[in-house]
Amino acid sequence: MADASFVVDVGDAAIRSATPLATATIGGVVCEKSGVFNIGIEGMMLTGAFTGVVASYAAASAGLPTAATLLVAVTAAALAAMALALVHGLLCITNRADQIVSGIAINLLALGGTSMLYRKLSPTLGQERVTGFDPLPLPLLKDIPAVGPVFFEQSLLVYLVYVLPFLVALVMYRMRWGMALRSVGDFAECADAAGIQVRRTRYLAVLFSGAMAGLAGAALALGAVKVFMPNMTAGRGFIVARSDRRRAVGPAARRARLRPVRPC
């Protein structure tokens, strides 16, 4: 039965590698639905990965227990990426700069900045593995043959991805707040006339996507390898930036999109 264990191994690795992508995509979708295109997700992920590893190292050195260390690392990763998202928001929403250009600049900033800081810190940080997320088998579920080892012997962040899309979809499609968000992206003037705070909604969406990208970076760095390497995201953020099929698929998807009646 060597083949069965191979399938389980591949499935296990696939789920683990998909986690950062899925997490960041959720943020990307929300951001794009609000009408702001965030190509800086790549840089935000990278920043999250770097900050997560550094914070994990620092917290563990300070003698915090594992759970607290991970909490600190994840929070720091999300906050650092959100700081970049705030820059994107200030440029694109308040300053109405070009979203692509701003995103590219943020990616460059993150790539250069993390590489630079990494080389500065690598004497202390070294190549040693920091405290990361270890597999946390769920009782009962892990005993299901084949499915259990693939899906339910993963780390906490993976379980988060099982839940998060449903939560976000619930907010986006079943709650007023999500409706407001989508209307801001679909027809801003109309949303504005309806009394929705366009800018505030967009800021929140961009910050959310930043937090998700930071989490994704943390999942990437702390989920499996538990070290940081320069440019370790290697284009994952770009896959994410467009896997939401709003424009990537083209006219068919565009036609399928709900549009409010034009004169409003």
């Binding site: 979203q99 250009v101 460059l108 900033l109 250069g112 003037e189 896959i239 424009r247 083209g250």
Partner: protein, 336 residues
Amino acid sequence: MRLISASQACRIARAGTPWSEAPEVLGNRFSLATAGVRMTPILLTGIAVALSFRAGAFNIGAEGQLYVGVAAATFVGIHGDGLPGPLLIVLSLVAAFLGGALWILIPALLKFFRDVSEIVTTLMFNFIGILFIGYLIDPGRGPMAQPDAAFAQSPPIADSSFLPSIFPGTSLHAGLLLAVLLAVLVQVLVTFTPFGFRLRMIGSGLTAARFAGVPARRMTLKLMLLSGGIAGIAGGVEVLGLSHALYLNFSPGYGYDGITVALLAANSPLGSVFSAPFVGGLRAGANNMQQVTGLESSLVVVIQALVILFLIWDPLRRRLQRRTRVPEPEGWGPDG
């Protein structure tokens, strides 16, 4: 124009040279030549990016197009051994152009037929292109690899196809002149021809251009191919003038530097001639700076990013844009 590359600035800082004596240090012809060498491919990718940005098509795949252009030029350079030098150079550059154009063909066609965002497709093609070149020169196995090499590299191109040096004793080659010439030509194309007029039309108001009868889709297709081709030439010039063989990690990001160059030049091909020395100087000085001061060379990337961020932050620029921008029918939408 006197260029202060980062390396020179550092040398001054270390030696404590007063600024009155600085010109002698700054005027070092070798440093200037190095900056010129670095600037050449960056100027060419800058022209390519500027051309596409001007028409509202975001070609950010210059890096991949450059790599494929290098591969095409190297292929011609290796196999055209018996041909006379000038012919071989021209053939190599044509191959580089075609290679670059080939690499943007799929994103351009997707844009043409399916309206697929070229931002993502060109960007993703960077990764495909770079990895494809890695396969071509994979030691021992790749079809273009040097048979006995331990490192990933192609055989050297024929000596007769080397671009001549234009500054004796340095590696500054004729590619710089070619790049400047191309900048002038593309500027003329954009400013003084019907093609360029239509290009600027679809860039500044797509809807108005469509109403005026500009075949916007076909225009976009053409200029994307042109942009990709020029990015390919950037690679061709680099291999003919400097490296003389195809290596892994051939470009340290010239394609992305081109974006900075184009943005600094406000998407003007001729303006890129003036912004490319800045980025080229940064690149040329980066390694030296790292050796001399211990600062990381990635600082150069950070500086570029900050330059772009402050550039688009500028309130004056915003006011200018607002005055000229055509009201977008989609409202505040992202695609405008």
